[in-house]
């Protein structure tokens, strides 16, 4: 059954436009999978000194929180997708948590590397809870992974201080970094967690790293992506939502849909725009976000809300200074597609990244 929007004929609702959900009638094949949740990610709150934080990133999170609170009816819950802080300090996590506290609703947190590598997530846990976990909601099984781990040697023995370790991981293009992974322990936990489920249960995985191998130079990468994907592949409806990349990406591998979420802080170039990148596996399916005008500090940043339509994910990107985008799961083709720009002839100039 298709989703229906009753205002479509009146011209008030154009493709990709966001209206409070109360004005949108949702129809689903199976009752109980009829809900929406909001997703805010990658705020990178950065401490300067004293009570001073980088204003640009603060404003991004403030705006995302304020707009999320405008959704009506309220989303069922909100996810924060990781990298709340920039260098994982207590000041940054506290300042970020304070801004998030204005959200009206339950927030589920995902670990990001910028939160983790200073104290290995200890203070983060005190604020937000376990590093990985799962929960069920209206018949959908949600898994939250800590997918930004790396090998023990790098974590425990490579760097003289925690600050140094955090600083080295903080540089996206730092050759001293180390590839992300979920790791053996969590994969085992995931296997056990999923074993109890029926294969028809819709599955949504929240992860910070892409659970794919896109571009190693910038850690758009999960080293054990294939092993994790193997654990998910038996389910009929699986979506992975990931942060970290600060740009629109979406993909389909086997039966798994992958959707990235926007950052509230700043956009990142597409790895294909790096002339010396070498091997890049940016999914061809992806219609890139618009290139940003750096004068508008919120350009190419945003937040998103996700409709669970029959167990598949429709992702509404709320973009600033740009038209909103919707990446909707197409049941006919079995993959996520942009509702307006998927065909080449429909693209706009700013979607051409070079």
């Amino acid at each position: 059954m298709q989703r229906r929007r009753f205002l479509q004929g009146t011209g008030l609702l154009a493709a990709g436009q966001i209206l409070p959900i109360s004005l949108v009638e949702l129809a689903f094949a199976e009752a109980g999978q009829n809900f929406a949740f909001a997703y805010i990610s990658d705020s990178h709150i950065q401490h300067i000194k004293g009570s001073q934080f980088v204003r640009n990133w603060d404003r991004g999170l403030i705006r995302a929180v304020a707009e999320t609170n405008l959704l009506s009816p309220k989303p069922d819950f909100i996810v924060f997708g990781g990298d709340l802080a920039q260098l994982g300090s207590k000041e940054e996590l506290d300042h970020g948590a304070e801004m998030l506290s204005a959200l009206k609703g339950k927030v589920h947190h995902v670990m990001g590397e910028h939160d983790y590598y200073l104290d290995l997530g200890e203070y983060w846990s005190r604020l937000f809870g376990p590093h990985y976990y799962s929960f069920d909601h209206k018949g959908v099984h949600f898994v939250v992974l800590n997918s930004i781990l790396t090998d023990d040697d790098w974590i425990y023995r490579r760097w003289p201080t925690p600050q140094q370790r955090m600083a080295e991981m903080a540089g996206l293009d730092n050759p001293n970094g180390s590839p992300f992974m979920v790791g053996e322990k969590q994969r085992q936990w995931l296997k056990d967690d999923l074993a109890k489920l029926d294969r028809t249960t819709p599955l949504v995985v929240f992860s910070h790293s892409p659970l794919q191998k896109i571009y190693k130079g910038w850690n758009f990468w999960t080293e054990d992506a294939e092993e994790v994907q193997n654990l998910l592949k038996d389910f009929r409806k699986v979506t992975v939502l990931y942060g970290h990349v600060h740009q629109i990406q979406y993909n389909r591998i086997g039966a798994i849909s992958f959707n990235s979420v926007m950052a509230t802080a700043w956009p990142w170039p597409y790895p294909t725009a790096y002339a010396q990148a070498g091997e890049v596996h940016l999914p061809k399916l992806t219609v890139p976000m618009n290139r940003a005008d750096p004068f508008f500090e919120r350009d190419a940043t945003g937040w998103q809300f996700i409709d669970m339509a029959s167990g598949n994910v429709d992702l509404h990107y709320t973009l600033y200074e740009n038209r909103s985008r919707v990446v909707r799961f197409n049941p006919q083709t079995g993959q996520p597609e942009d509702s307006v720009y998927q065909t080449e002839s429909a693209r706009m100039a700013p979607q051409n990244h070079y």
Binding site: I18, P20, R63, E67, L70, F296, E297, E321
Partner: protein, 397 residues
Amino acid sequence: MYTLFPPDLRARIAARFHRRHLISALIILLLLFLWPALGLVDPLGLPPVPIPPDNPQTEAKIALGKKLFEDVRFSSTGKVSCATCHDPAKSFTDSPLKVSEGIDKLTGTRNAPTVVNAAYLTSQFWDGRSPSLEDQALHPFLNPVEMGLPNHDPIVKIARTDPEYAKAFKEVFGKSGDQVTMKEVTQAIAGFERTVLAGDSPFDRWYFGGEKSALEPAQVRGFQVFVGQGRCVSCHVVEQTQALFTDNRFHNIGVGINAIQSQVPALAGAFLEAKAKGANVDIAVLTDKKTSELGRFAVTSQFDDLGGFKTPTLRNIALTAPYMHDGSLASLRDVVNHYDNGGAAKAGNKVNDFLSGGIRPLGLSDAQKDDLVAFLLSLTSPQYAAPTQPAAAPKKK
């Protein structure tokens, strides 16, 4: 003109030129005089005026449009015309009014934008709810706090039956009687508005005309602030060969909305529900101050447009005080302070959550602010610099 030449000169001219050459020359001279009136010359610093193909300019259309623009009969009280709020003597605004006064001095919620150079805008009204000059002209007639007419019928009736109008519409459009509709009325008004242009300011002469002495040193320094630390140029566009001073986009810069921050969620929701039920946006935004603060959101329903208003041109800005969509900033210095504070009228006030990403505290010194204001004063075009005739007296019929 020929007769003004002395006889021997005339003889020599006649000897050299055939009559038809002379006639051609005279036609060219005539056109050169009429060129500006036809709105076909680009003022220095401005590109060619966009003319829609279905509404070409003619001298007669422009004259008709001017007449319609000034006609007070097109209001319920017979006292309000377009020129009431868009007074040629005040650079086509009603400065110093903060918000405009329509029939019976009823006030709206917004400051009258100038008609000067409105022809270059890609949408009309502070929230861009009108896509063209022609469309824009339709709305104030029907707004209860502007001209207050119940519908356009009284206007069309006058256009058809007033002998001068009947003659003019026949001449301009080849239409008479029932064929004359609001389409022709608004096309004529728009045609007139497309001649209300102003460039050639001291800034234009300095920047595009190469006249090094056209600006004072403070104004030159002010221009450097404008394109540098002031960050003005990104929205108030100046380019290599022209300067529209607007990007034709909508931005929340923290005017008005700052005061109602906590009420925005409720207002936005209520407005969308009303709109879905068919409420008239034009009337809602001009009659309710709080709804007015929603800005462009009222037109597009996009979160990104909350509190967003169109970037106006800065040309003639010295003459159009007070400033902003609600007339809340009295002087140019107040405006500069608002931007320097990062989108708040007073330093330290909380900025609203939906503030444009382009607005941030600027850290300008007092001297830089003085210079910036001095620069803005250089954007006045010569034909508006001196006081001009008052708006045409109301026609008695």
